[in-house]
């Protein structure tokens, strides 16, 4: 047993415990909605928990979980509601157990004893199980009416037994599908022989193969074995190791380049060349693979939310459904953990400030149940997580008034919705007058923004008063690898992150408007003026203070061609154009942090190293956006 007390085991145990608790919550929410449908999933979870506890040195919890499992599998539908609430308590206790273990405290198991006492009060609901049988029935291949025949057979069986489950499932049989073999699981007070006789007397039945099942647990074990066989084997790998692999691959790429150079100097043979190419290809394949390994489906953090939204709804007397779509979509491992807090915050806001009380919703002719949708989608190289509630929408007047009261904007100014959205996320601005237990004072939207921007994402808001609020988090799929657009400016290579690049235009030189007073350039795109940043002049003459507002305009005449490339970069409602001489195309790069001096300029967000060892600086368009606003 001592072996199990090592820290590593404890970590794994905690990880599994947390996962199981989330699984349990998901299952319970389902069961609560649909109490008639007994959840095999919950039984499976309880079964796994039981095993976990017995292995990790908590025999009393193990036996208690066993009782829970038994209770749930033997309870009639009348008792389900009570069991669900008990199981929710149980799940809460498990959560606090996990918390105290994580904090290195001795877990308090006293409250589990109380739950055990409550378990005893369920005796009334327990059905005498009798025997449990699994029967395989084989029909004659000549039988043309198998589903109808099965229905007759099940009717006969139901006189003497409770049919727990059939394969194919009842709905399919009733819909008239054809099949050759039927599996029935039933509980009965009758013995094996009586049941066999009923089945064999049925027309078109060739044979019946009956076997006694020990109790519900044995079927759970069966299904879990089936589950395992469908899933590929997994191994847990530390994130640090993956990062290290990416770094090492980068070094391999560079040394490959040296080998190539040495080979070239020595007029290398064709087979050398081929082998080197294959070596480089392999490295690039491994790189792709490692990137993919870092992706984790968002599901891993989303499972906790339905329970949370349910509880929040109950606390505030609101009826709220959370519908999640696209949870299989993966994001980078290092990003996923950081998303939990912003999502929690936004969901709390949606329940607290978005969804109205049932009575108010009915007045507005809405369904009394509010809906929050958490939709996850791929868009270009980003993941978009949208949280959309069908609640009361943003109260723009209130936000504007509040901002004026707080002196954030001068009174008398009218801000666009877009600008008010920005305020929402930039200041500690709350439009709810009273502090609620659920989402506090609205403090924290700025923190949401900070976290999202830290992982390279941004936020978009859309709302229609009275109808909905939608908040979209736009997150890069992988932080390790970024797609960039490579540019060449006077033989100097630069890159701009592809994220937020809206389009690339080729503009005749006479369409570029020049304001001689402020020395700025702009073009008209879709009837809107877009400020232009001339990278050539910017980098030639202004490298010492990029944050200064004036962009000097000294394009040397020999650089003027008839057409210019304009890279349109969009963030929220703002668009910037970069005037670029030469575009070298898209590529995936690993961004490395840059040293203090360069990073202080603010112009560059990082650097990357190309195969030849050449360093390419990566522009931070945000910085230009900020300077252009003040211009």
């Amino acid at each position: 047993m001592e072996d199990f007390e090592t820290e590593e085991f404890q970590d794994v145990m905690l990880l599994e415990l947390t996962e199981r608790v989330e699984e349990l919550n998901t299952g319970l929410l389902e069961l609560e909605k649909n109490p008639k449908k007994k959840s095999d999933r919950i039984l499976h979870t309880l079964h796994s928990l039981k095993g976990l506890f017995s292995l990790s040195g908590y025999p009393q919890l193990s036996s208690m979980t066993h009782s829970m499992e038994n209770l749930l599998s033997t309870i009639d539908s009348g008792g389900v509601e009570k069991v669900v609430s008990l199981l929710f308590q149980y799940s809460d206790e498990l959560q606090s157990l996990a918390n105290s273990l994580r904090g290195g405290k001795t877990p308090e198991l006293l409250r589990f004893d109380q739950l055990t006492q409550q378990l005893a009060s369920f005796d009334d609901f327990i059905v005498n199980l009798g025997n449990k049988f699994g029967i395989k029935v084989l029909f004659s291949p000549d039988c043309k009416v198998i589903s109808a025949r099965t229905l007759v057979l099940l009717k006969k069986l139901q006189k003497k037994a409770t049919v727990e489950r059939t394969v194919p499932p009842m709905e399919e049989i009733q819909a008239g599908i054809t099949f050759k073999e039927l599996f029935v699981e039933l509980t009965t007070q009758e013995d094996e022989e009586a049941i066999t006789q009923i089945i064999e007397e049925t027309q078109d039945v060739i044979s019946a193969n009956i076997s006694r099942l020990l109790d519900s647990v044995s079927t759970v074990e069966k299904t879990s074995v089936m589950d395992d066989s469908q899933e590929p084997l997994n191994v847990r790998v530390g994130l640090k190791d993956l990062d290290r692999i990416i770094q090492l691959l980068g070094e391999l790429v560079i040394s490959g380049q040296f080998i190539r150079e040495i080979g070239e100097q020595q007029a290398y043979s064709r087979s050398f060349k081929e082998n080197l190419a294959s070596y480089e290809r392999t490295i690039s394949n491994i790189q792709d693979l490692v990137i993919k390994m870092r992706l984790v489906p968002l599901e891993t953090i989303l499972t906790r939310f339905p329970r949370m939204v349910r509880d929040l709804g109950q606390k505030s007397d609101k009826k709220v459904d959370l519908i999640i779509s696209g949870k299989h979509i993966g994001v980078d491992r290092s990003v996923i953990e950081q998303l939990t807090n912003p999502l929690t915050h936004l969901l709390r806001n949606a329940v607290d400030h978005g969804i109205e009380l049932p009575a108010d919703r009915i007045k507005k002719k809405k369904d009394e149940r509010g809906t929050i949708r958490l939709n996850i989608n791929h868009e270009r190289s980003d993941i978009v997580i949208e949280i959309k509630d069908d609640g009361c929408g943003l109260d723009y007047k209130k936000i504007s008034k509040k901002a004026k009261n707080l002196g954030l904007i001068p009174s008398g100014t009218d801000l666009t919705h877009e600008e008010l959205h920005a305020l929402l996320f930039s200041q500690n601005l709350s439009t709810t007058d009273k502090t609620t237990e659920i989402s506090g004072r609205g403090v924290g939207l700025n923190i949401v923004k900070e976290i999202v921007e830290e992982i390279g994402g941004n936020i978009e808001v859309e709302s229609e008063p009275g109808k909905f609020t939608s908040i979209r988090l736009i997150i890069p799929i992988s932080v390790a690898i970024t797609k960039v657009l490579m540019l060449s400016i006077q033989e100097q290579r630069l890159a701009i992150p592809m994220a937020n690049i809206d389009q690339i235009l080729t503009v005749p030189i006479d369409k570029i408007l020049q304001d001689s007073e402020s020395n700025t350039k702009s073009i008209i795109v879709d009837n809107t003026p877009v400020p232009l940043i001339d990278l050539t002049s910017f980098l030639n003459y202004n490298s010492s203070s990029p944050s200064s507002t004036s962009i000097t305009n000294k394009i040397r005449s020999n650089h003027i061609t008839e057409k210019e490339n304009v890279v349109l970069w969009r963030k929220g409602a703002r668009t910037l154009g970069f005037l670029v001489k030469e575009l070298l195309g898209e590529r995936d790069v690993v961004i490395k942090p840059i040293n203090n001096f360069l990073s202080q300029l603010g112009t560059f967000s990082g650097a990357t190293i190309l195969e030849g060892g050449q360093v390419v600086l990566i522009l931070d368009p945000m910085n230009f956006l900020e300077t252009s606003i003040h211009a």
Partner: protein
């Protein structure tokens, strides 16, 4: 041994079913040609089992079964129908029929179905 009401729009089939049942010791208390007639006869004779054709002119067997079940929820039906009407059979089973035979059926299939219903 049971008292049986035979419902079928084919006289030939009624005769055949009647002969088979009698030969196996059952009593045919009445016959009906339509759904509405079946309801009347059921009220008159309170049979133990009804053999019920489904596809009949005027009131079909399913409707007749529903009405009879409304009078006597314990009524026993064996549905007799042609191959290819399986969806109707499943509907009949849902309404409350206890067994069925598919035309053309073998003698012992019908007998077994009647006995099954009486179990």
């Amino acid at each position: 041994m049971a008292n049986v009401l035979i419902v079928d729009d084919s006289k030939y089939l009624r005769l055949m079913i009647s002969k088979i049942l009698k030969k196996h010791g059952h009593e045919v208390v009445a016959e009906a040609e339509t759904g509405s007639e079946a309801i009347e006869q059921y009220k008159n004779f309170k049979p133990d089992v009804v053999t019920m054709d489904i596809v009949m002119p005027k009131m079909n067997g399913l409707l007749a079964m529903k009405e009879i079940m409304a009078i006597d929820p314990k009524a026993n039906f064996v549905v007799v129908t042609a191959l290819g009407h399986e969806p109707l059979v499943r509907q009949a089973l849902k309404i409350g029929a206890k067994d069925f035979v598919i035309k053309p059926f073998k003698v012992d299939q019908l007998v077994q179905a009647i006995e099954n219903v009486l179990l």
